[in-house]
Amino acid sequence: MLPRDGADGSTPGMEAPYVRAKSLNVGYANEVVVADINFELRHGEAFALIGTNGSGKSTLLKTIVGLLAPKGGKLSVFGMPPGNSHARIAYLGQFHRSGFVLPLRAIDVVRMGRFPRHGLWKRIGRQDDEIVLSAIKTMGIEKLADVPLRSLSGGQQQRTYLAQVLAHQADLLVLDEPTTGLDAGGRELYLRAINEEVCRGASVIIATHNIHDEAALCRQVMLLARKVVSLGAPEQVITPETLLETFGIAVTSGKGVQVFECQRRGDNQGLGPNIPRR
């Protein structure tokens, strides 16, 4: 199923990256939003895209999942052009426009996470139900499972959408601002859940403007401001200078310390595939 090592030019002896971008340009119809993006995302790694609204995070994510065509350069997802690995990718977009109209219970929404693996026909069986329930538990919404989606608060809905993503059991999770509306408890459950996904070997790409939480999870961070400001390990990338360039505001010393704490927390708690879960 996976392209063999070196099949797409990667270093022999290492597994081919799940996502590989080379001189990639992303954008909409007539507009390139971010040019010359280069990165590789491997099996069991998490990758954070940090930037303001309009910095090109969502555009890059949409290009990776195949919703937008690349505007130049090379992008491969599981060794293929994007848009060819539906069963292996779970995507959480930013907008769920009709969520309020639909007569759906939370559990129905989570169950939709199983559709990509089953296509039009394949039966959704007991094993799927167990996966769905486990995702619901992970996000702490057992008591809400039978409640209509439209009766849930924004944060509860976001937990439901995250549970849907988890239920997919995807090899690649692409999350666009997944913590929108989450309270502190929800955020904690989300961080643990993503860590577990990474531990089980999935790759995760998260777009966020929250430098603190995701930096703890991710081996790689990309700062975006309609261009790649910086790319690398969080402790190297997140500096007052790069943050100023990304967010356009001076970062106070206080904030700098906070960022440092997050990195330390990440290091100590070992959020990675080979390190015990916290």
């Binding site: 639909l102 759906l104 939709m112 990509p116 702490g140 209509p148 929800g186 904690e188």
Partner: protein, 283 residues
């Protein structure tokens, strides 16, 4: 009891009207559910009126109104698709103009016919009491096709209603399934217009499904409720029309709309007392 059953048992035309009404209610329940879920009410309305010139031409030339309606619907779907693709911002305006254009074209064409007002009334308000056996057979086949489409496309339709991007990422082409959905709505309009007319068929599409949306927690349940409310409207509307000598199509739609608002009001009164549980405690 006599008042409720005898009109149907002693009059063949009433029974045929009821059978047609039930079939149409089922078709409209399914199509209407997706119209509401996907926010296609305006397109549905446009489609319902877009069939008019087709029917008008059919009447003038002397072939089946259903074929004329099908052609009209195809033209309308083509127009809507073109508009939605070309102009994202003002598609409402363009679709609106397309539909009044088709409506007036229909009336202009009908005005050429000898029995102008008679034909126009039949097209706009339906002729459920004069429905033929052949039409009922066509409605039966169409309803089966619509059920089949809804069953086969259940997952993509659900994803599409939830979030078109999710459908696309899950491997179901949003455009393809959107078009299948439009096609399904078009079939429904084509076989339903004879019962309540092109002017009111939109009511049959959204009033029962809207009521279903108020009471149901699941999409399947919404369709079932919609079919039930639709059938109830058909039955009551036909009875009212029979006993009080009123226009049948309009009576049916009126009942459907009254049911919607009754349920709506009851719901609003009840909802004040509803409590939603908090999420489970955090570890």
């Amino acid at each position: 009891m006599d008042l409720l059953v005898t009109p149907f048992s002693t009059n063949g035309f009433m029974l045929q009207a009821l059978v047609a009404g039930i079939l149409v209610s089922i078709a409209c329940a399914i199509a209407g559910t997706f119209i509401i879920l996907r926010g296609l009410a305006f397109i549905g309305d446009a489609l319902a009126h877009g069939v008019l010139p087709g029917i008008a031409v059919a009447i003038l030339v002397g072939f089946s109104g259903i074929i004329g309606a099908a052609i009209g619907a195809l033209v309308m779907i083509g127009g809507i698709t073109l508009i939605t693709q070309r102009s994202r911002l003002s598609s409402d305006t363009a679709i609106g103009l397309l539909f009044v254009g088709m409506l007036s074209l229909g009336v202009v064409i009908v005005s050429r016919s000898n029995s102008f007002s008679g034909d126009l009334t039949r097209i706009l308000f339906g002729e459920i009491l004069g429905i033929s056996l052949q039409s009922i057979v066509i409605q039966l086949v169409a309803t089966i096709v619509i059920i089949a489409i809804a069953v086969i496309c259940a997952r993509p339709f659900l994803l599409l209603s939830f979030d078109p991007e999710q459908a696309e990422v899950a491997g179901f082409s949003a455009r393809l399934y959107h078009n299948i959905m439009l096609f399904m709505i078009a079939i429904t309009v084509i076989v339903s217009f004879q019962t309540v007319g092109t002017l009111l068929v939109f009511g049959l599409l959204i009033a029962p499904a809207g009521t279903g949306a108020l009471v149901a927690r699941r999409i399947e349940a919404m369709m079932a409720w919609a079919a039930l409310f639709g059938t109830l409207s058909m039955y009551s509307g036909l009875l009212i029309s029979y006993h009080f000598d009123l226009a049948a199509g309009a009576a049916i739609i009126l009942v459907a709309v009254v049911i919607f608002f009754t349920v709506f009001i009851i719901q609003n009164l009840r909802q004040r007392h509803m409590v939603i549980p908090k999420e489970s405690g955090h570890a």
